[in-house]
Symmetry: C2
Amino acid sequence: MKNTILVVGSVALDSVQTIHGRTNKALGGSAVHFSMSASQFTPVRIVGVVGEDFPGPFRRLLKRRNICLEGLRVMPGKTFHWKGRYDRDFKNATTIATHLNVFEHFKPKLNRTHAECGVLFLANIDPDLQRDVLAQMGKPRLVACDTMNYWITLKKKSLVKLLFKVNLLFVNEEEARQLTKEHNLIKAAKILTGMGPQAIVIKRGDSGSMLFYGGEVLAIPAQPIEKVVDPTGAGDTFAGGFMGYLAASPDWRNLDVLKRAMSYGTVLSSFSVEDFSVKRVGRLSKSEIHDRYKKYVKALSIK
Amino acid sequence: MKNTILVVGSVALDSVQTIHGRTNKALGGSAVHFSMSASQFTPVRIVGVVGEDFPGPFRRLLKRRNICLEGLRVMPGKTFHWKGRYDRDFKNATTIATHLNVFEHFKPKLNRTHAECGVLFLANIDPDLQRDVLAQMGKPRLVACDTMNYWITLKKKSLVKLLFKVNLLFVNEEEARQLTKEHNLIKAAKILTGMGPQAIVIKRGDSGSMLFYGGEVLAIPAQPIEKVVDPTGAGDTFAGGFMGYLAASPDWRNLDVLKRAMSYGTVLSSFSVEDFSVKRVGRLSKSEIHDRYKKYVKALSIK
C-alpha cells in the first residue's frame, strides 16, 4: 500500500469543442485524468461520485488500467457534466455549461483500504472536503493537492489550513499569483513554501513547469506538440505522471527524483493533448512513454 | 575576420519606466543590446547611426567592450529616442513616444572591413535595408536576421526575399504566427524553414525559446529571475549571446553547438533583465556568465 495513490476528485462527463472536433459526454474529471496517467506507474484508487447515467464502458476502461473503483460511489441522479469550448490558441476554455449534478453533494468517505494508501492526491475540490479527506487518512508518506481560482476566492482560509498539512502543492501560474498576491513566480513560490508545502510545482501550460524544492528553482519546458487536439485535463495528467512516478520511488525527497517526476508529468500531459478526453493516454503503451521521455531528456541535455 | 560579427541595427536612447524605477535617455537600441552580449564571445562591429547628442560615455562604454564603432555614423540631428513603459507583468511595452530622428534616414554603407566579416546579424530594421546590407557583403559564412510585426505588415514581400538568403531567423512567437498565418509553432517553423533559413529560433520571453534545425525541434526554458527590472533589449541580448557563441565556434551547423548557443543566449538575456539599459550586461564578467551557464545546464540535466 506504500506505493498506492488514493486520489479524491471529480469524475465527469465532458462535452468539449475545439478546432479539431468535438466530444459529447466523454470521460473526464480531475480524478480520471490523474488516474489514467498515474496508473502507468503505480496502483491508483479513486474516491469519487457518479450518477446512474455513468456509462459501463467508462468504468471498464478505468478498471482495465488497474484503477480501483471501489470508492466510486453511484448516487441517484446524473454525473457531473461540463461543456466547454477552446479557441484556436487553446489558452482559455470558455465554459458553456456546468452541471454539478451528484457532485454537488459529494462527501468523500474513506474505507480502511483507502486510509492506508501511502500517497494521497487531493485533486481540485472544495478545500473543506480536501481537509476532511486528509483527516480520514492513516499516515500517508506523501500528500499533494491541487486547487483553483474559485476556491482561492471563496475559501482561502480553509485552503491555507490545508496547505499547512500537504507536502506538495500543484498550482498554475495565475493561481500562484492569486494566492500570494505576488507576480514574480520565484517570490510567489517562496511565499507558498512558507505556507507549508515542502515542494511547489507551478504548471504553465505550453510554457512548461517550475519546481521549487529545498531552495532550488527548476524550470523545464513543455514537450512541443504539432497537433493539439484537446487540452482538457492536461494539468491533471501532468500531476498524475508526476505523482505516479514519485509514488513508485522509494524516497521522493530528492531533487533528481523530483526532476524525473516532473519530466514524466510533462511527457504524459504532452500525450494527453493529442486527442480528446482520455483517448490518447488510454491507448498509451509503456514503450511510447519511455521513448518520448528519453527523447525529452536527451533534448534537454546540453553538452 | 571569420569570427567577427557585423551587426546592423538601431543605436538608441531609451527612456523606460517599470515598477522598479525609470531611466532617461539610457543607452539602447537593437545593435547595442546585441553587441554588448555578443562581444562577450567574439569581436563585433556595429554599423548604425546616431545624432550629435549621442553621449561620449556611451561610446566609450561600447569601445571598452571591444565593439568597433568605425561604422557608427554621426549625422546632424538627434539620436533615435524611444520612450516606453512596462506594466507589472512585463508582458507588453506601452510606447509613449518614438522619435526616429536621424535613424529615419539611415542608409547603411559598409566599408571593406565590414564586408569581410564572417558573420552578419541583421537586427530589426526595414527589410529593404537588410537586403541592401547583405548585397554589400563579401561571402559571410553565417547570416542571421531578426524582424518585427511592423515590417511583416508593411513589407512582407521584401522580408520574404530576404529570408530566402539568410541561414538563421530570429522571431518571437507572435511574429512567427503572423508571418505564417499558423498558430502552432512547430507548423509555423516548418513553413518558415520552407522560406529559406536552415535554422529558426522562436523567442518566447519568460517561456523560453525554441529551435528548429534539420528536422529537430528543441524547446528550452528561460532562466527564472527573481527580480526583473527592465526587459528592454532582452531579445537582442539573447540573439547576441546566441550569435556570439556561434561565431566563435568553428562550425555552426551542428545541433550540439546550436543548443549551447541557445543556452548562452538564454543566460545572457537573463542577466540583461536584472537592471535597466545595458547596465547588467555592461558589468558582466566571464566567470559570472560561466557560472550561470553551468547552473542552467545542470538544472536541465535529468538523470
